[in-house]
Amino acid sequence: MDKKCSFSSFFNSFFLFFIIYLFLTFPFDIEEFLTGIFLSIIIVLIFKNFLDYFSLKPPLFLSLFYLFSYIIFLLWEILKANLNVAKIVLSPKININSVIVTCKTELKSELGKSILANSITLTPGTLSVEVKDDSLYIHCMDTKITSPEDVYKSIVKPFEDKIKRFSL
């Protein structure tokens, strides 16, 4: 993975800044439009060292579609996680054994790995404690899962397949 910032990441981040500026100033106006373009160009030029991770897979519209579908899937997972938390908290006696296990990912890019770790934190019963090069250290509340293959199959695999569609 090279450290150079490519043109596509420039373009993606410019697009994102511009959309966020338009969201901030909701009643769309021609003055706000021009100011937004100017400001997002300036910010992309200032923070060009920061934007090196910001690359999606080449067919942009397809990967954007997969990204949105992934966000909807993540919201559903958050809802399940909350119901799980409610079930644990409201039960009269709490008996949980928690472990920290490791597993390896196949994802290479910074964006993919960080999205994977953050969504593992938001799903039921898991919390990512540490990320070193390829391996994730996950804190699990379930007692049944102990072996790393189990963790990989049940927790990491469904996210990884969906992330692979839009990121490396």
């Binding site: 200032i46 923070f47 790995k113």
Partner: protein, 275 residues
């Protein structure tokens, strides 16, 4: 500090601060007419800041002791009823936010005093702490680095949005500067991004210089410090209130750069980063 980086802008800023200081002291020594202010009370509709200029304190006391009814001054608020949002133009200030017009136009000295207080405190901080040694921090993890890389440009964008819309919505220069300084703090702790302090110093000194320059030009054109001499646009648009927009964005840049320098100095001694 190298002696070779003599900056013309810094010299002019110093000169203007000196002139301003003399101007602020002048009413103590002389008794006479103000610079261009009319003493006629009927003109008070045009310039409310007549009350707040330093010259006319005795005058106001005399007026208030003569007749105690404030019905004359209520005419100003009555004329504000005819302002239509998005249509009427060429008002006195052109701001949709009343607080901004008070802070930056009628009471411009207030903002200037706040800027000077902040400047002096940051100056003392950097002078005291520049002798201390380097402090070690924990290495940030992978997730923190990517998160900070993602969030910092957006925080800067939100800060710029807040000081650009200071005359339309709540906010303004000082909160925007605080938000920008928080963004630099995040990028210092989270991903060890090394700012160049010389750039921040350049931004800070030039923004302060231009604030004072524009305000003093107001003294020449309208007769009061921080007077609004450029034409004001339609109320509610982005580019509506001419001078207030410019001065508030300059104030935001100045405060952001100043607080960032202070945080950088607290993070490690000042000697380490001049490169």
């Amino acid at each position: 500090m190298r002696e070779s980086d003599f900056n013309v802008g810094k010299f002019f800023a110093f000169l203007f601060v000196l002139i301003l200081f003399l101007f602020m002291l002048s009413p103590l020594f002389e008794e006479g007419d103000g610079a261009k202010i009319d003493k006629n009370l009927s003109d008070i509709k045009n310039r409310v800041s007549y009350f707040h200029s330093l010259k006319s304190v005795k005058e106001i006391e005399r007026i208030l002791s003569d007749n105690n009814d404030f019905s004359k001054y209520r005419e100003i608020t009555d004329s504000a009823k005819t302002v239509i949002f998005g249509e009427s133009k060429d008002l006195e200030n052109g701001t949709a936010n009343l607080v901004t017009s008070i802070v930056l136009d009628y009471r411009g000295f207030d903002t200037l005093g706040e800027l000077i207080v902040l400047f002096i405190s940051i100056l003392g901080l950097t002078i005291i702490l520049s002798t201390l040694s380097f402090a070690k921090f924990e290495e940030p993890s992978f997730l923190q680095i990517t998160g900070v890389k993602f969030v910092t440009p957006f925080m800067i964008l939100v800060g710029i949005y807040i000081f650009l819309h200071g005359h339309l919505s709540p906010g303004g220069g000082f909160p925007a500067g605080a938000i920008i300084a928080t963004a630099t703090l995040f990028s210092l702790i989270g991903c060890k991004f090394n700012y160049r302090v010389s750039n921040l110093k350049f931004i800070e000194s030039n923004a302060g210089f231009f604030v004072i320059l524009l305000a003093t030009l107001g003294l020449y054109f309208t007769g009061s410090f921080f007077g609004n001499y450029l034409p004001t646009g339609i109320v509610g648009k982005l580019y509506s209130s001419s001078l207030i927009l410019i001065i508030y964005s300059l104030v935001g840049l100045k405060v952001g750069a100043e607080l960032s320098v202070g945080i950088k100095t607290l993070y490690n001694g000042e000697k380490d980063d001049d490169r």
